[in-house]
């Protein structure tokens, strides 16, 4: 199993599956409940909602857009937690896209779609999408975790 599992003082989880929509809710609840138990996040219902929403949009997009056909390809989800930092990474091997070519939603005349990426960007501190030449696409959702007073107190002499 991966070397990163050995690192101390951080949490790391890796989930591999086919990007089937039946996994959307189980995964969402996993992410939500994990975030809910993290010291700096547990007290903020808003922050928990926001991370859950961002993950939900990201997984839905892999399942619907990266793999358009009914036969879904693999997705690898990695969650990293460090003291003040949460990152959720989704890797797929399906169709890639150019995020710079995606316009912001037209809020004067909203259509049926086109809100997902905007939500992710709005609710996370960082949203990074990268494709390589081997057909690997990685989306990184990053959220800073507010320091709790207890943590701060430990850091101070």
């Amino acid at each position: 199993m991966t070397g990163i599992l050995e690192m101390e003082n951080q949490l790391y989880v890796k989930i591999e599956a086919r990007a089937e929509m039946i996994l959307l809710r189980p995964l969402d609840l996993f992410v939500r409940n994990l975030v809910q138990q993290l010291p700096g996040l547990s007290s903020s219902e808003d922050l928990i909602d926001n991370v859950e929403l961002a993950f939900n949009e990201a997984f839905t997009n892999v399942s619907k857009h990266a793999y358009k056909s009914n036969q879904k390809g693999p997705v690898c989800i990695e969650i990293f937690v460090q003291n003040n930092y949460l990152e959720i990474r989704l890797e797929d091997h399906g169709e890639s896209f150019d995020p710079n070519a995606i316009a912001d939603p037209d809020f004067q005349n909203l259509g049926e779609g086109g809100l997902g990426i905007w939500f992710m960007r709005h609710f996370m501190d960082d949203w990074i999408y990268q494709s390589d030449q081997h057909g690997k696409n990685v989306l990184r959702l990053i959220k800073k975790i507010p320091c709790e007073e207890t943590t701060l107190a430990v850091d101070q002499p």
Partner: protein
């Protein structure tokens, strides 16, 4: 999803999650309903803890479908999470929103 009729108004109660799995069913149901002209619809979100972009999209699509057929749609009892999304997307100006189910129904009468 649960559909009821009250005082000539249709009330659709959405389940816990209005996400990409639930959105198509809502759109389809509203589409069928709108074949009758002038459908009066309340979407009750009281049980809905989580809504995403697909859920918002399904609400927009439902409103459009109804308006095209002289119908209309009101939203009742959105959660704080839903309210946040409606405000961000300015959908709170597109939808008539009630924090009380009866008020939403009575607004049609």
């Amino acid at each position: 999803m649960d559909v009821q009729r009250k005082d000539g108004v249709v009330v659709i109660s959405i389940d816990e999650r209005l996400d990409a799995l639930a959105a198509p069913k809502l759109k389809e149901t509203v589409k069928k309903m709108s074949e009758e002209s002038s459908t009066k619809l309340v979407i009750d979100l009281a049980k809905t803890k989580f809504i995403d972009s697909s859920g918002c999209g399904a609400l927009v699509a439902s409103l459009r479908t109804l308006l095209k057929n002289q119908g209309d749609l009101k939203i009742a009892r959105p959660s704080p999470q839903a309210q946040t999304l409606f405000q961000l997307t300015r959908l709170h100006r597109v939808f008539e929103i009630y924090d009380n189910l009866d008020a939403a129904i009575q607004s049609f009468v």
